[in-house]
Amino acid sequence: MRTLEELQEVRERAKAEKKVCSYRVHVCGGTGCTSSGSPRIIEKLKEEIKANGLEDDVEIVKTGCFGLCALGPIMIVHPENAFYSMVKEEDIPEIVREHLKNGNVVKRLLYEETTKADHILPLEETNFYKKQHRVALRNCGEISPEHIEEYIGRDGYMALGKVLTEMTPQQVIELVTASGLRGRGGAGFPTGMKWKFAAANEADQKYVCCNADEGDPGAFMDRSVLEGDPHVVLEAMTIAGYAIGASQGYIYVRAEYPIAVQRLEIAIRQSREMGLLGKDIFGSGFDFDIELRLGAGAFVCGEETALMTSIEGNRGEPRPRPPFPALKGLYERPTILNNVETYANIPQIILNGAEWFAGMGTEKSKGTKVFALGGKIHNTGLVEVPMGTTLREIVEEIGGGVPNGKKFKAAQTGGPSGGCIPAEHLDVPIDYDNLIAIGSMMGSGGLIVMDEDTCMVDIAKFFLEFTVDESCGKCTPCRIGTRRMLEILEKITKGQATMDDLDKLEELCNHLKSNSLCALGQTAPNPVISTLRYFRDEYIAHIVDKKCPAGVCKDLLQYKIDADKCKGCTLCSRVCPAGAIVGSVKEPHMINPEKCLKCGACMEKCRFGAIYKE
């Protein structure tokens, strides 16, 4: 491919081909739906379509993530936009026969919310989707990520064509700066400014890196983009290369994401074949190529200097900044590093203009943000909303609220570097600065909902265990400080701590924040600081009253039997693995606290609700 006209031809052809089949069946091939069985659904579909002689009428497309992972495996039939959720293999013959052959949508198997009105509700009008605005995820679920033509059919590589044929590097940087785009990986640094610094530094070689080492537990938006729309990352990196004057790109991707790695490999190969990567792209004289580098499982390698050290083939330890990577990065050359979601916004900004992008969001945070909703919430999955959407809208309207009639307690954002946001701040519009102001941070966008059964001290301990595990050990504050903090938290959850320990804990938090080498250590205290800020009474309950209000910390619990409710059925004493429950038939039973292992087996089995913990 040498010219923009050729690209346009491919695009028109791809659009025309879409209309040939009467039905297009989109089946999610992301990690969530694959885990719940979508590969078997695709096989069965193929079988049934063949058996019914519909091969020429129906096109099956294995797409990326639709977002509603809780309802997987997901299947959408176009043109009706009929949304089949939690599809089972045994449902397929009926769907093929009734819908694809006879043209009758199988209402019984549709996502419940879409069938409530007289007509079938379009997906965009369901609670989960109607407040969403998909920019970074615009192609996820819409195209087959393994076919470059489908990406081109949705205006793919048009932005690159425009940049290389109509714009100077300077203009590209100005456009990105004017859009107000900030890094989606955590810290929210203005992307245009980062590019400007790297462009200004002269060197024989410069590099463009993509951080796809998505290490925050519970965050999977970057993976979904890579799985559902890998070309958008390649296109954006090439644009970045042109802007800063680099000819080589690296994508550092987690080895734990096999589907993403495979689709990236396919995408890079296809781009090279079409001449969209390589020498003299669009006849502009600009060369650019991209290589994949696999991580080996180290959280700290998400930190920019550690990531570059790891690409060079060393222990992935961070190094002090300055010099910043824009001056001395990979192999000591000027380097920019952006994360996957940041790149996914770039082509749209080029095509639609800076004003369009800056028209979304809040004053200092423009555009949209993808969140991975998880934990105690109905609609777990991936959502993309304009910046400034409130947490309440995300949790209650899009997420469908907390299940089992439980009460919302807190939302955790920013992973091990972030904090917990309590119910009193549910109405704060979410953007970079507001989250910092309430003691959390955007991070990469994991959003874990916690209900009244979650102990906040235990959660703080959970995150400290994570940072102790993942601390690289290079600097002392992080290596030793996180461990000392964890020890104090363990004492608290065991009921062995004093109020002095709490003071020590807070002192350590401050030390780590100000003295650690990289962001991992500097932000490691955040889960503790934020839970202390909003849930201090829970810490005090553990320390002074020796009680865990949420009933999580085993050492502080006692299982007891309510003598009035106990019927003496003996079921509990039979399931008790420790022989800790005694009592005669039809007489109230008793639990011997000396022997009790606090496993909870008795409480689960009791039919009369006679066993409680306190």
């Binding site: 990690t31 969530g32 885990s35 719940s36 992972c69 809780a70 309802l71 997987g72 290490g215 925050d216 537990p217 519970g218 965050a219 999977f220 993976r223 080895a255 734990e256 994401y257 991580g295 080996a296 499982g297 180290a298 959280f299 060079e312 083939g313 060393n314 222990r315 992935g316 991975a372 998880g374 934990g375 105690k376 777990t380 999955g381 955790q412 992973g415 994991g446 874990i448 916690m450 979650t454 959660i459 959970f462 265990e465 994570f466 595990d469 690289c472 689960e604």
Partner: protein, 164 residues
Amino acid sequence: MAEKKQTVPFQGTEEQEAALKKVIADLQDDRGKLMPILQKAQDIYGYLPMEVQKMISDETGIPLEKIYGVATFYSQFSLNPKGRYRISVCLGTACYVKGSGDIYNALMEKLGIVGGECTPDGKFSLDACRCVGACGLAPVMMINDEVYGRLTVDDLDDILAKYE
């Protein structure tokens, strides 16, 4: 986290040792050779026991403590052999708040090993992992490539029995 220890005696063969020596010889002049050597050694032996690390040290002259340092830095490298059935329990935040910690503890108790170890018969190995991305199915564990979601402790016996 409990301390990791080597539970299965080393049973390397001469063929494996010859293969390792060839790898080392091929990479001898490579400046950043340690990582590729470790990756290939793990391909050959399935894991990186101290015996193998010592062999690498003897052959390359790289101090054993440095090799141990790199081998333990990246979680991809394992100092213990994996079982025929590799169990990994997700301890990502979404799974954790839905009780995957209980699942993990119950498995340690049932199998009689701690995380990172392998049962003495070589059947099961147990690891914790951070997020397999199936947060919608939390809590989740994987046995080899099979994902088990929406787990409760009560499900475990039936699942393990499938691998008898």
